[in-house]
Amino acid sequence: MRTIGMKRALIGAAIAALAMNAPAAHAATATGTAKAKILRQITLSNTSDLQFATVISGATASTVAVSTAGGVTCGTGLTCTGTTTAANFDITGTNGAVVVVGGDANVTLNGSLGGTMNSTLSYSATNVTLGATGGSFQVGGTLSVGANQTAGDYSGTFNVTANYQ
């Protein structure tokens, strides 16, 4: 009876470790105890968005570039206000694991009052080797703003994946 209780406790602990993403689940090997198998895992978290902030278009077409470090390059003829950020993704997993980063190369944004814009996307890395605390990659972009671009709120979605090979 006591052994069964013990077993249950162990299994419970293993599930809890997995569920709560506790450090125990980060164990590099899959050699679990006799009662619980620790699986290798990967986590992906989006900690900041790609923000171009606000752009006021000019009489000629131009571009706004946000680097993967988050810095902004406001093209000639444009007025850029607000704080820009690059998208950041944190990855955790087995120490030393190589994760391949994939994602869309460009994105189309649709305006609330009509009009579209395109942005190319740039990735800080094609692959990430995870350290003891994981790793991260950033996504920047270059937005093409048309001459006298229709004002409004533009939105779009882009795909990003962290791939184990």
Partner: protein, 275 residues
């Protein structure tokens, strides 16, 4: 009262949304294990966990990916899948395909395989994609923005994790050879590069350790490097800090070993002088 606050928030979205992003966004996820190999008809399970702070709906799907000579994974449209890739998509069954999870709630995804009779021996592979279905983020309105002027932009990433699901049919074997090694510059900084050549009728998978003769501590460790059957030769390019890049130049031993889970036997070991 709360509703009122929400409404207020929409009006002054810039103020509110700048404080909104938390350490864990809705849609963050955990997947375990990170690689699945099926041989025969036995299935397996993969755990998906919502590690975000809010409930999220996740979709599970199969994708076709092909390895490139540079070691990248190209996404292939299902319509352009070749016969083997099509066979992999058709023989791998899984459920559920869509699940809504509260925070910290794991869900088991059951994976089964039905190998059609008369299927040619070989390795069949698809990549299982787990990703959250996002709520569209509203465009951030800048109160400083003059009315009717300027554009505000909201880009919502749809992000997910893929793991390979590999089905092996028949008696398969493969081996790999380590080629030339060099330190080169990428646009993101220095990288340690080497060629990996594969022969045989399945993929090879394992860990890389780069050591200096006479030094116990490895200079570089990289786990989970695969060469898939669609490529015979790939470049492995690992970004390293500048100080590691400097140390790597000169005579080194590169060891490519099987996964520790299957014993860690050496696949190939080579002495190279890194240029």
């Amino acid at each position: 009262m709360f509703r009122f606050f929400r409404g207020f928030c929409l009006l002054a979205a810039a103020v509110c949304s700048s404080t909104a992003p938390s350490a864990h966004a809705a849609g963050d996820l955990l997947v375990a294990p990170t690689r699945v190999i099926l041989d025969g008809s036995r299935g397996t399970e993969v755990v998906l966990n919502n590690i975000g702070a809010e409930p999220a709906t996740y979709r599970v799907s199969l994708e076709v990916k092909r390895m490139t000579a540079e070691g990248g994974l190209d996404e292939i449209d299902e319509a352009n899948a070749n016969a083997a890739e099509r066979a992999a998509l058709d023989m791998i069954a899984f459920s559920p395909r869509r699940v809504t999870l509260p925070p910290n709630q794991p869900q088991v995804i059951r994976i089964g395989v039905r190998i059609p009779e008369g299927l040619a021996p070989g390795e069949y592979r698809a990549h299982m994609l787990f990703r959250a279905v996002p709520d569209a983020a509203p465009a951030v309105v800048d109160p400083a923005k003059p009315k009717g002027e300027g554009v505000s932009i909201a880009l919502t990433p749809i992000y997910g994790i893929t793991i390979p699901i590999i089905v092996r049919v028949g008696d398969l074997a493969a081996t790999a050879k380590i080629g030339e090694a060099w330190v080169g510059d990428t646009r993101d900084g220095p990288a340690f590069n080497f060629h990996l050549t594969r022969t045989g009728n399945r993929s090879v998978y394992g860990d890389i350790a780069v050591t200096r003769p006479g030094v116990a501590e490895p200079l570089l460790l990289a786990r989970g490097i695969a060469v898939y059957p669609e490529v015979g030769d790939r470049t492995v390019s690992l970004r390293v800090p500048a100080e590691v890049a400097a140390k790597l130049r000169g005579p080194v031993q590169i060891r490519y070993s099987e996964d520790r889970e299957v014993g860690g036997a050496t696949i190939d070991q080579a002495d190279r002088v890194v240029k």
